[in-house]
């Protein structure tokens, strides 16, 4: 078995090295993208990655506390952006959207955060709460069911057609010059909001009582309960905070890509999980780092590696590259970049 694993590892490495050399040769020959295009690609991949990171936080927190993958987290994100869509459209039709861009973005942000939080907490109360002590497969399958139920409930309520968000308000759609590099306003917003949320989350987890309770529950549920921590409440708080982060990502996603539908949550959710594993699941800075790395990997990877292998139309393979990243992580460093050792109980 080990020999086979090494075989896979080495072939993966060889493929990557050959790909990169090929791409570098292409670059030397003056083919492919120009330097400015590469720079823009890196910027846009990073912002996409930041959103993966925000979603990944929810996966990571729930995983840390309950030890299972909340498959429905992608749908929590989708719920935020779908309901945010109503608010944004109403504001847009009133003319408020363009008149007070920041106030309206803030308003929609609050709406989508509230929605996502509500959905996350409701799902926990209705579905997961009763499964605390069941075999580990059970909550996982439940969360898959919840995920599909939510997707098609939203499809039923909102219709299956894609909804387009109103265009980003004036000030945001213009380019901002940062260090001499023009960056699209929405991307700056994504960066700023992601950073603020991250700092807020860090403060919450390390400095507040609920955050400490959360870490204690993640460490050991039973003992935390014995120490007087309300475990149930802490779990709800975990879902709520994870949901809020997904709501933030939901709005940012919608502002950036402007199209949302009931399946919006599926792929980003999957990729965010990949990001969480990449950074080391259960580790919050790791989730953010994993998100950014995954964004870069799927943005730059196809051009850097696959192009060099002589594969045509590499941008089609973006999603495949993102999932291949998950494979690579599991082959080379299953505990993730910032994750701790994989203990015996984690291996189950």
């Amino acid at each position: 078995m080990d020999g086979f694993l090494w075989f896979i590892r080495i072939s993966a490495l060889i493929t990557i090295v050959v790909g990169i050399t090929g791409s570098i040769q292409n670059l030397m020959a003056g083919e492919g993208l120009s330097a400015v295009q590469w720079r823009d690609l890196v910027i846009s991949s990073t912002t996409t990655g930041l959103m993966y990171g925000l979603i990944a936080l929810g996966y990571s927190m729930v995983y840390g506390v309950l030890g299972f993958i909340n498959f429905a987290h992608g749908e929590v994100f989708m719920a935020g952006s779908m309901v945010g869509f109503i608010a944004a459209t109403l504001l847009f039709e009133n003319g408020f959207w363009d008149a007070n861009p920041f106030a309206s973005v803030l308003f929609v942000l609050v709406i989508s955060m509230i929605t996502s939080t509500t959905v996350a907490v409701l799902v926990e109360r209705i579905a997961y709460k009763r499964l605390r002590n069941s075999p580990r497969l059970i909550p996982l399958i439940t969360s898959i069911g919840v995920s599909f139920f939510l997707q098609y409930a939203f499809a039923g309520l909102f219709g299956v057609a894609s909804q387009s968000y109103p265009p980003a308000p004036g000030a945001l759609s213009e380019d901002v010059i940062i260090f001499g590099v023009p960056v699209q306003g929405t991307r700056v917003l994504v960066f700023v909001v992601a950073m603020v949320s991250m700092v807020g989350l860090w403060y919450f987890v390390t400095r507040t009582k609920s955050g400490r309770a959360m870490r204690a529950v993640a460490e050991d549920k039973e003992i935390a309960g014995l120490m007087g921590i309300d475990v149930d409440r802490t779990i709800v708080v975990t879902f709520a905070v994870g949901g809020a982060m997904a709501g933030v990502a939901g709005l940012l996603w919608a502002l950036l890509f402007r199209v949302v539908d009931f399946q919006t949550g599926f792929l980003p959710g999957l990729k965010a999980f990949t990001a969480a594993v990449l950074g080391g699941i259960g580790n919050l800075p790791g989730a953010m780092l994993g998100g950014v790395l995954l964004g870069l990997f799927e943005g730059v990877g196809p051009l850097l590696v696959l192009d060099g292998l002589g594969i045509p139309a590499v941008s089609q393979l973006k999603d495949a590259v993102a999932f291949a990243a998950l494979f690579l992580v599991l082959i080379f460093r299953p505990s993730g970049l910032l994750g701790e050792r994989v203990g015996s109980e984690d291996r189950a």
Binding site: A127, I144, V146, F148, Y152, A320, P334
Partner: protein, 579 residues
Amino acid sequence: MSNFAFNRRVGLIAGIAMSFTAGIGMIENFNKRVLIDPFLLMGYVVLLGIPIMVGVLAARGEPNPLEEPVRDSRAGAIAGLIAGLFAGLLTSAFVLVVDSFEMTEFFPNMRPAMVDITTFGFGVPIGLLVLTLASGMAGALGGFIFGRSESVRRGIAQASVWVLGFALFEGVVNDVLEIDPLLDVIYALNGGLQPWSAMAIGALAWWVSGRFRGRSRALVEKVQSADRWSGIRWGAYAFAGIALLFPLFVLGGIVNELLINVMFFVLLGLGLNIVVGYAGLLDLGYVAFFAVGAYGTAVLTSPLSGVINPELTWWVALPIVLALAAIAGLLVGTPVLRMRGDYLAIVTLGFGEIVRILLLSDWLTPIFGGAQGVRQIPGIPFFGTEISGIDPQFFIYFTMFFVALAGYISYRAERSRVGRSWAAMREDEDVAEATGISTIQAKLLAFVTGAIVASFAGSLFAAKVGVIFTNSFDVLVSIIILVVVIVGGMGSIPGVALGAFVLIGILGGPKSQGLLAEFAQYKLLIYGALLVFMMLKRPEGLLPSVRRSRELHLDELEQDAWLEKGGEFGADESAEAKT
């Protein structure tokens, strides 16, 4: 007692459910179908079926495992009435909101037509009252029935199941009976049962339920306790076999197609059952192996496939394809199976997506045809004839043979050394490892076996349809196979077959319609809800495997043992030793 609060709570939950079904357009769509001419429409059955069920719940009171619920039809009817009224009030409030605001911009189904239907055509102020009262009456009815004696309840349940069955499966009954005068008596001209034929069917079902009460169970017990080789047992098997084959002779073409679909899902379900049910590994990319089988066969056999074009016959292509699937299974399984179980779910899901993306990509289009798919896949040569989708009857027999084979192999595998190590691993991996089981090998074996079964199904699928596209290999397929296994019963072979028949046959598969075409639009919603419901209420499935269900209810069994011992503290250790 806090009965009122409980009734109010279940009533409000029912109200949410009613508003939701109305809000997603379910009531409106279902109402296009007449069940009993002219008054009973399918949408209303759903809308008012919810308060009826809630009436039963309200009459039963808060679930208490230590006490039998009190059956009193008057108190039950009152409890049901309260719950039903609350449900109706909430729904009316929802309908009022929909009526007062223009929301179709965001919620396309919340439109005047919906208001019209939910108010039974009476319009807003009066119709809301009608809705509330109807819901209250439905709740009272549910509570009332709950309070009646067992024979009455059984009679009503049987009667409504049969009437609904005859009404819902009108098309099938039409196909089977084919005696026009009789059909004209049963069904109205524009669809739906005639009122008095509905009454006749109901009365007959009631009478039969009273007449044969308990006898069917006695028969089942007799068969089960019979000797392995005794006549009665073989008689039962023969009867079951004939009952299974019977539809093939009488049913028309549409149902044949449906049966083939069901067979595919039985086969896929049996394969996934080895992975999920026996080894306890969650494989969400199962469709990828199905795709490997289908595309492998297509490329190897079709004269129109791209660069690789050997034009083999199906029988030669099959072993190559199975080997490919096994290799794919090894490649995916080896790195992941040593990780925690839940990683496998996501990695396999990712793998499924990778396969789909690759099949669609420009890069591999020369081989797999991209969005064009692979065309002209020949059928299966078989003693001079060719088995393909053109002759569905023959194809069903052919598939059925392999389904039976897969069932037999699963049955033997579960009872073999490997099967026992899977069971041990499922229950406690560390202990299993300590007793000398190589868990990674056991997992890998299950995973690869599942992959081979799926690719086999894919190979059959390619030969049947003759042309394959990537959209037959969506993630949804994996999820639906999973639902089939879960609903039927993890680890239970008859359960998987039942799950496939019920879900794929009635509600429909990923791309195909089931017998109830009305559900096509909502089946995925229902599948999701079913998955959650089964996990919460009956994780062992409809036809559980004895062993699996014991594992899933370990806590309760321990509790029972503890209670039996008199419920003393300190007695639980000895009880544990006993189980």
